[in-house]
Amino acid sequence: MEIRLQGVEKVFGRGARTVRAVRALDLVIPSGEFVTLVGPSGCGKTTTLRMIAGLERPTAGRIFFGDRDVTDWEPRDRNVAMVFQNYALYPHMNVFRNLAYGLRVRRTAPEVIDRQVQDTARVLEIGSYLDRKPRELSGGQRQRVALGRAIVRNPAVFLMDEPLSNLDAKLRLTTRAELKRLHLELRTTTVYVTHDQLEAMTMSDRVAVMHDGVLQQYDGPAVLYERPVNTFVAGFIGSPPMNFLPATVERSQTGMALQVAGVTVALPDPLRRALDQRAERRQVVLGVRPEHLRFQSPQVAGVLPARVFVVEPVGAETYVDLLVNGHRVVARVDADTAVSVDDKVGLVVDLRRIHLFDGETGQAIR
């Protein structure tokens, strides 16, 4: 089922307390894809999901399921299923009845209900506690029941609102993989909401990054990582996040050059061409991912002078926090790199992988 949002807006409250939760959102979720809405809390991602579910009505704009305009439809008519952050299992019903409830209110025949619940229970390996109440289950088991309640009805769309955030770190990791596997098997259109960019990157076909109710970028995970459209996306996607350094662009004898931390850096061709068409001298932000920084002796010409602030080994690699001209920068280096706190080092930037953003608007220059 393809989902299309056209100019969708959501405004809460009136007068001085108005909150514009979602603004002019256009989004197409292709049939069968796993699409994640990601962003910090308050960015409008959950509101968007609830509008797709029919639990909130948009203030403006239309929502389409395939060719049908479902904007004014009740949730029950949309054939969607939702997994809630706190699972929202019916506390007075046992697991079987929790799973069966959606089928029962739709007047499904009892023997069909029984078969579908048993099938779902087998897939999710929850068959052994069908007669237990939710309070008798562990967090992980509840999460599976919540998932089961969604898939048992074989809906056209899955909606998931931070379904992993209440699990402990280890369980979250395995469940993340299982969810992805489940999607590959069922191929049901899935809209997934999370604030965790890692979940978004690992599970999704496409990711919609939202901030302050506005869609920032909607692309596949690789594109988001390689070509972020602005500093917000660049800083949100990736862990540790992209480093930002203020810089100026100046015309030199050889063309446009970048001044950063008192060092002049030659620009690669595509960026130079993009900058040639613009103003003479301007403030920009240089963006470099931690893995695109290398260490050199500080005496070598053209390196950025830096001082080691702290060293964070994480096993396979090491994150080195540095101070460059008063700005914090993280470099991601091999675990055997020999540096220690307060060392003076020279930083070499992989110039083919840098990003430049407008100093005022934060938009990518390319």
Partner: protein
């Protein structure tokens, strides 16, 4: 104020002294948590024993004696008081009326209470004013209410008849306190009016604890508004409703002042419940033993009823 500390390590410099200050007190004065807990409960236990347990036991003892308030002596009569009760047609009428009065009041209060609570649970602007107003009947003393209601129920110039006449519900005045059925209806009405707020408060508090997520989940599952009420709200209210029903049943069954102040049990004995019956036995017939026996019967009935009801509710929970 250095004296209290001086006893332990006196003088010297800070650090070393501080260590010696925290010498535990002598062992024989230490009480276990359990002993401290018992100590805290002793005042209540004494008061309860003096003013609840002892009077109840005295009343039970009195049920087996013949006693007039004007004579100091009391005579042991065995089960005579109970024989008198069970042979008295007024006792049986009072019991029947007590059941009607209790069941009607409790059922009406519960239904109205749940309805009003659902209404007040809505997120409507200004709803808090109504939530506050709701407490009004509960705060006003029963005597005041009974007096006001006597005026309202007045057949000739009461507001109730006037309103019913104006809206064409009735064609001629109802003589509320002169006809047994209307008299019973009026005391039930008063009780419902006064105690529905109690039900509303309990139910509203519980309603506000039901996670909104459950309703969202049920809507997505496809449940209609009625199905959401039946399958989520009601089961969530079950525990509080069962407690409320037991309390309201006990309190209404024992209620005395509303009936006595509004109808004095009349006309005749048609609005007697067991409490009024017992009171009349003590004050009009001067049979304190019979009055006590009535109390014992009430105690037994309520005890059995509550136990059965809670057992039933508990079984449904499984």
């Amino acid at each position: 104020m250095s004296a209290p500390y001086g006893r332990h390590g006196h003088a010297g410099s800070g650090g070393a002294v501080a260590l010696t200050v925290f010498v535990p007190p002598p062992r024989r004065w230490r009480l276990s948590d359990r002993q401290v807990g018992v100590l805290f409960m002793v005042p209540f236990i004494l008061v309860a024993a003096a003013f609840i347990l002892w009077p109840v036991l005295e009343a039970v003892r009195l049920a087996f004696y013949s006693k007039s308030p004007f004579r100091p002596t009391m005579t042991y009569v065995g089960l005579d008081n109970f024989r008198y009760l069970f042979g008295d047609p007024v006792f049986w009428a009072a019991l029947r009326q007590a059941v009607v009065w209790t069941l009607s009041s409790t059922i009406l209060q519960s239904i109205l209470g749940v309805g009003l609570a659902l209404l007040l649970h809505q997120a409507i602007r200004g709803i808090n004013v109504f939530r506050g107003l709701l407490l009004f009947p509960y705060m006003v003393p029963t005597v005041v209410i009974a007096l006001i209601w006597r005026w309202m129920f007045n057949p000739e110039f009461g507001i109730i008849n006037a309103t019913l006449l104006r809206f064409g519900v009735i064609e001629k005045n109802i003589y509320w306190f002169s006809e047994p059925t209307w008299a019973m209806a009026s005391v039930i009405l008063l009780n419902v009016w006064k105690f529905t707020p109690f039900v509303v408060i309990c139910v509203l508090a519980r309603l506000q604890m039901i996670p909104v997520d459950l309703y969202d989940a049920a809507r997505v599952d496809g449940a209609s508004a009625w199905q959401r009420f039946r399958d989520i709200t009601l089961p969530q209210l079950k525990a509080v409703l069962s407690v409320v029903v037991v309390f309201r049943t006990i309190w209404t069954f024992n209620k005395f002042e509303e009936i006595y102040l509004l109808t004095r049990g009349g006309p005749g004995t048609s609005t007697f419940n067991l409490a009024v019956y017992g009171f009349e036995q003590a004050t009009a017939n001067l049979k304190l033993g019979v009055a006590a026996a009535t109390g014992v019967v009430m105690l037994a009935l309520l005890f059995t009823g509550s136990a059965l009801y809670l057992r039933l509710i508990g079984r449904q929970e499984e």
